[in-house]
């Protein structure tokens, strides 16, 4: 299964990407929402996007809105991973079409639990 990690921080892309690879995902990366939309065109088999909120060019919320406007992306699971922990921000992201919301700081177990809940883990690595 292929995942797209969208974060302007290379460190965060690496951390999230490593967690995903450890549970069997193939990972592609983008540094902002606009680049992420290009990556989705290049990789139509992406099934999960992990999305930061605060990014230059196009932020994570704008990316979710843009992705949800395209019917061809309706099967992609969208998971926000961000420092934006206020209730209204979470509600806004979920209302726009995000499936899950993770607030930094997080452990690998938090991400893996979310993936398991979303049914995105292979049986052999499922917790």
């Amino acid at each position: 299964m292929k995942a797209l990690v969208i974060d302007d921080s290379r460190v965060m892309r690496r951390i999230v990407g490593t967690i995903l690879k450890d549970v069997g995902f193939e990972v592609v990366e983008a540094g902002d929402g606009q680049e992420a939309l290009m990556r989705l065109e290049q990789h139509p088999d992406v099934r999960l996007c992990c999305i930061d909120w605060n990014m230059p060019v196009m932020n994570g919320y704008e990316f979710i809105v843009a992705a949800r406007a395209k019917p061809e992306y309706r099967d992609i699971t969208l998971m926000m991973i961000t420092t934006e922990g206020e209730q209204d921000q979470i509600v806004r992201a979920l209302a726009a079409g995000a499936h899950e919301y993770v607030i930094k700081p997080f452990t690998a177990d938090v991400i893996i639990d979310k993936l398991d809940y979303l049914g995105l883990l292979d049986q052999e690595v499922s917790v």
Partner: protein, 156 residues
């Protein structure tokens, strides 16, 4: 100060300590116990680096983190799971300490439910311009025995 922001949850050093402890326990040390208040006289940071992130609105809220370069490199190695002694590039350093400031500032923003937006982290050898800003909190913490300063400012 804006009427929309209640500063009470961050008006002493303990919330900043708690946020920093949570961050280091989950993403850097993989277990709690390595971050505490600095005991004794506040030390000078050796080869200091300053990292800041703002919450931008009518007033700017700025979180400034200070470390020595060596401590920042140790944080970078831990965050990136690098080998001990592995060379830390400037790009790695800026990205890693910038992310630490980003997470601390984001959590401060959540505590005070500030309506602004987080800016991209800035890392520099010199402290940021603070002008007539009001310093709300100035915490000196210890991470594995090395000093780490975390301060919170409101700028006009």
């Amino acid at each position: 100060m804006t009427a929309t922001v209640d500063w009470a949850p961050v008006l002493d050093a303990d919330p900043l300590l708690q946020i920093t402890q949570d961050l280091f326990a989950t993403m850097i040390d993989d277990e709690p116990g390595y971050v505490s208040h600095w005991e004794g006289e506040r030390p000078e940071l050796e080869d200091a680096r300053h990292t800041w992130v703002d919450v931008a609105d009518e007033q700017i809220v700025r979180v400034v983190i200070g470390t020595g370069r060596e401590t920042g490199e140790a944080i970078t190695r831990a965050l990136l799971r690098m080998a001990p002694g592995e060379e830390v590039t400037d790009e790695d350093f800026v990205d890693a300490v910038g992310e630490v400031a980003n997470v601390v500032c984001g959590n401060v923003k959540s505590l005070v439910t500030h309506p602004g937006t987080l800016t991209i982290p800035v890392v520099a050898d010199a402290p940021p311009p603070l002008g007539d800003g009001e310093r709300l909190v100035d915490a000196c913490l210890s991470w594995r025995g090395a000093p780490l300063t975390v301060s919170l400012w409101v700028l006009p």
